[in-house]
């Protein structure tokens, strides 16, 4: 979707403000939200792309003004409510009115390390890759109403295949519950001038990680 989360190249957000000696969490509740999301990711029945889709679907005014973990907390509530795992009235009352509707077991202490390690999104395929390193490609000018990982600034642009990563879970499919639909994944590199016009920094190159359905041969 063409949401406010897709902000590469936008103006007006001001200076970057690094914080000296930044703590991992700015308040204890932030850590609880992060940990609940990790733990529920193992039993809640959603995947990473569904999580991203839910967060990107937040109203733009909320997305832009809520802190990162406040936005996560709202996303967690949305995912739980959508699946009927929790009711709004239960959160308000701070107690459960009924048992769990999930068959799985909660994340156990001995499985924490495994749960925190990134899983593999690579999948086997019999399809041959359409492109090889060095090929010229153009990104498609596509505007899906649902989750996608081709940023707006890199649509309809000419670039070069720089790396071939194998076949990976396709987020556009996975986010809407349509399965892994594995697709070849490439690093596509663009000249800065192709993205931003010739007046910009000639020494800049930008790459995106692009799934094969985002690309066409030049």
């Amino acid at each position: 979707m063409n949401g406010v989360h897709d902000m590469g190249g936008m103006d007006g957000f001001g200076r970057i403000e690094p914080e000296r000696d930044e703590p991992v969490f700015h308040a204890p509740w932030e850590g609880r939200v992060m940990a609940m999301m990790r733990a529920m990711g193992c039993v809640g029945g959603w995947n990473l792309d569904m999580f991203r889709n839910a967060r990107e679907s937040q109203p733009p005014s909320f997305y832009l003004t809520a802190s990162y973990y406040k936005s996560w907390e709202k996303t967690l509530e949305t995912l739980l409510l959508e699946r009927g795992l929790v009711m709004e009235e239960e959160i308000v009352a701070s107690r459960s009115f009924s048992g769990s509707t999930v068959a799985g077991q909660p994340l156990r202490a001995e499985d924490v390390s495994k749960a925190l390690k990134r899983q593999s999104y690579e999948r086997s395929t019999s399809a041959a890759a359409l492109f090889k390193v060095g090929d010229g490609v153009r990104t498609r000018n596509i505007h899906l109403p649902t989750h996608t990982r081709l940023p707006r600034y890199a649509r309809g642009r000419r670039g070069t295949i720089e790396r071939v990563h194998g076949c990976h879970v396709f987020p556009d499919s996975s986010a809407v519950g349509a399965g892994d639909d594995p697709q070849w994944l490439y690093t596509v590199v663009f000249d800065g001038s192709e993205l931003w016009g010739t007046d910009d920094d000639p020494s800049l190159k930008v790459s995106v990680e692009a799934f094969e359905p985002y690309l066409e041969a030049l």
């Binding site: 609940m36 039993v43 459960s96 909660p106 390690k117 600034y153 020494s203 800049l204």
Partner: protein, 206 residues
């Protein structure tokens, strides 16, 4: 957005604390989470999974050409072979800074970051100013971080739009001949592994 909820007025802080506590209670009563497990997750990120892990990897690459080659070939496998930096998931990619090339990492769409190796990303990395600007005006962003590179040096920005994760391998600072792994690792900053900073310079002797 640079503000945090704890900068807001006290009632909002209380509101988030209460809401999160209520959600945790409901999930606990339904048997969906174990609060002791949440403690372990928070503790892991506060004490074990952080940029010191990445710094050890960079220092090792500076010292050992075979390891550096392996790291650039397959960073997940190379880092996992070290054994002492925790569990590293798939598709970690190390990109090497050169005298003619400076690499930077961003996730314009959200907050993708090599968390296994560097811990949770800082607030600025997830913020609109960084995400919006670095793919267009990388030099301007670098200047705000106090980094000024020669105009002819190519700047390469890696936008993390899939499940690949990027670690910048910065250049080893001059004057570090004879340094051991720990001494070198102490010069490697988190920002130098994102590409918004450079390694610290060794302190000059008296």
């Amino acid at each position: 957005m640079s503000h945090h909820d704890d900068d807001e007025d006290h009632s909002e802080l209380s509101e988030m604390t209460l809401r999160v506590r209520a959600l945790e209670t409901v999930l606990l009563e339904k048997g969906l989470i174990d609060p002791a497990v949440l403690d372990l997750i928070v503790e892991a990120y506060e004490t074990r999974i952080g940029p010191r892990n990445g710094a050890k990897v960079v220092a090792r690459a500076w010292l050992d050409p075979d390891f550096k080659r392996a790291l650039l070939e397959d960073a997940t496998a190379a880092v996992s072979s070290l054994g002492h930096v925790g569990e590293i998931g798939d598709h970690l990619i190390a990109v090497e800074n050169l005298p003619t090339l400076h690499n930077m990492v961003v996730c314009t769409l959200c907050s993708c970051y090599p968390t296994d190796l560097l811990g949770l990303p800082p607030v600025w990395y997830k913020s609109a100013p960084y995400r919006s600007r670095v793919v267009r005006n990388a030099r301007g962003v670098l200047a705000e971080f106090g980094v000024n590179l020669p105009p002819e040096m190519e700047i390469r920005v890696w936008d993390s739009t899939a499940e690949t994760r990027f670690l910048v391998l910065p250049m080893r600072p001059a004057g570090t001949e004879g340094f051991d792994v720990d001494a070198l690792a102490s010069l490697v900053t988190r920002d130098s592994m994102i590409g918004t900073g450079l390694p610290k310079l060794p302190e000059v002797g008296p």
